[in-house]
């Protein structure tokens, strides 16, 4: 039972930061940027590259986040902003195209073989029947810390209030003297940082490959929609819900269905759960679990 909970948390960590980033950008410019999942892969690969160059891991992570954040804003200014001006659906297709280019670039530069950070091998911690590796703990800590900091930024700082005002009503925010263009670009940098951290935190507890982010596209969208697209912290809750459903389905003994003692669905079934959940969510809760006041400052 406890192991089940641990598995849910570990899966939540895979999804949460990228889903928060997606939702946060959406709240400001109504743009579901598919390329965000690739910023996660890029963040992980850049950190790996920097580590290979001899930088200590924590420094490689910080630098990679900064680089990915800047890359996010550059792509936004050069490409997505212009597409958004023309038409929002076009911008979404554009971000899909950009994502494909990213995949190609990843394949060319790092190849199809999965990579790992250079980490000391440490024995898993065992406690009350639960087994968890130190890096998994680091990954969970990193994610929770980042979400906590993000929440503090959003609800306890002037910048956070500017972000919320801009997302509620951009014209009115400008009229109260908020430089909304700067706020939006700041949030896009932040989304790049969060996505990079998301990718890094996944890679810390396992491998990273060219498909790392793209494989997560559907569960992340499902999480963000479930949280109420545009409700950044809701996305974290959405990630938990999706993780719960996925983990549940792949952990239940379906032996009784096939008249065997044990029958577990293969892990790849988790994807099907995400697909299925996404369809159900779109049908029944298109505005998310927490439908209440959509507009808030």
């Amino acid at each position: 039972m406890l192991q089940f909970f641990v598995d849910v948390i570990l899966r939540t960590v895979d999804l949460a930061l990228i889903a928060v980033a997606l939702s946060c950008v959406y709240s400001l410019i109504r743009f579901p940027n598919i390329a965000l999942v690739q910023y996660a892969t890029a963040g992980a690969l850049i950190a790996l590259g920097l580590q290979t160059l001899g930088l200590p891991l924590y420094l490689a992570i910080v630098l990679s986040c900064v680089i990915t954040g800047l890359m996010a804003v550059v792509l936004s200014v050069l490409i997505f902003e212009k597409l958004l001006d023309t038409s929002p659906p076009l911008a979404m297709v554009g971000s899909l195209a950009v994502s494909m280019i990213f995949t190609a670039v990843f394949l060319v530069t790092v190849g199809p073989r999965p990579k790992r950070f250079d980490l000391e091998i440490m024995a898993p911690v065992r406690w009350a029947g639960v087994s968890i590796t130190p890096m998994q703990l680091v990954s969970v800590g990193l994610t929770m810390g980042a979400i906590l900091l993000f929440a503090l930024l959003l609800f306890r700082t002037g910048l956070g209030r500017s972000m919320r005002a801009t997302s509620t009503n951009r014209v009115l925010a400008e009229a109260t003297g908020i430089p909304t263009r700067k706020v939006i670009n700041g949030v896009i940098v932040l989304s790049g940082i969060l996505a990079a951290l998301g990718g890094i935190s996944i890679s810390l507890k396992g491998e990273m490959g060219a498909q790392l982010g793209f494989d997560l596209l559907l569960p992340i969208f499902a999480a963000a929609i479930l949280g109420g697209l545009g409700n950044a912290l809701g996305a974290a809750l959405g990630a938990f819900t999706i993780a719960l459903a996925e983990t549940f389905v792949t952990n239940v003994n379906f032996g009784w269905v096939v008249s065997q003692d044990f029958y577990f669905l293969p892990a790849s079934f988790a994807t099907i759960v995400s697909f299925g959940l996404l369809v159900l969510i779109l049908l029944f809760r298109p505005h998310g679990l927490l439908v209440s006041e959509v507009k808030r400052v």
Partner: protein
């Protein structure tokens, strides 16, 4: 104080909506912009405020060309206040928080005083200071949006239909408030209006737009007495309508 020179504007790659508008308003003056729906009144106000970039012409504020200055900077550095036609409050914030939003760029120490001043001016808002703005009536919302813009003591105030959707009594109240602001602060006020007669009775001068051009301009008192203008642009004068029919 404020001078609009030959403004040409439109949206996206669409056609021109404004075809060379000239307008002037000086300190302590109330200028009203009238005209039929869709003639470009709000667009003109958005050009002045900096939300729409004009395709030609200039917006001059105190002898400085501020045409390319973004709206937020006009608010902070050029002391311009703007109240949009709709969605002009933050519904999830309380009344007091809404007013304070307008005071964000004032020094921290002066904000409380500024808020209090608005509450003295609008006691009906003071009574509801801690209520969510979404729970206000239409008239209270208009007053709130006005108070939000006024809290930073702008020198130019742009109002887009401040009396829209209000009962006759509330319309009167809003115009009294606007006149009172002008009298006490010497602010320059440019307001777009549909309640033409009431607007003309508080305004000093008026511009009447039609199809993106200034069709008539002049002293408000003269315009209100001009039967041709009443018939053509205000549509509210039964005598003029019947005599030409």
């Amino acid at each position: 104080m404020i001078k609009i020179e030959n403004i040409i504007a439109g949206y996206g790659d669409g056609p021109n909506i404004l075809h060379g508008i000239n307008l002037q308003a000086s300190k302590g003056e109330i200028v009203t912009i009238l005209g039929p729906n869709g003639c470009g009144k709000s667009t003109l106000l958005k050009c002045i405020a900096g939300f729409v970039k004009p395709r030609g012409g200039a917006v001059v504020l105190n002898d400085t060309d501020v045409t390319p200055v973004p709206a937020n900077e006009k608010v902070r550095k050029h002391r311009m206040g703007y109240v949009p036609q709709s969605d002009n409050i933050f519904p999830s914030l309380t009344v007091a928080e809404n007013i304070l939003m307008g005071a964000r760029f004032l020094p921290q120490a002066t904000r409380a005083v500024a808020l209090k001043r608005q509450f003295v001016a609008y006691p009906s808002l003071a009574d509801k200071a801690t209520r969510k703005a979404s729970a206000l009536s239409g008239g209270e919302r208009q007053l709130l949006s006005l108070a939000r813009a006024l809290v930073a003591e702008p020198s130019v105030l742009l109002l887009d239909e401040p009396s829209a959707g209000l009962s006759p009594a509330m319309v009167h109240e809003v115009f009294v408030a606007i006149e009172e602001i002008r009298n006490s602060t010497g602010m320059c006020i440019v307001m777009v209006e549909q309640n033409a007669f009431e607007a003309l009775s508080v305004a000093d001068r008026a511009y009447i737009l039609a199809l993106g051009q200034v069709a008539l301009e002049g002293c408000a008192a003269d315009l209100i007495a001009d039967p041709a203008m009443r018939h053509l642009y205000l549509g509210g004068d039964p005598e003029a309508t019947t005599s030409s029919a």
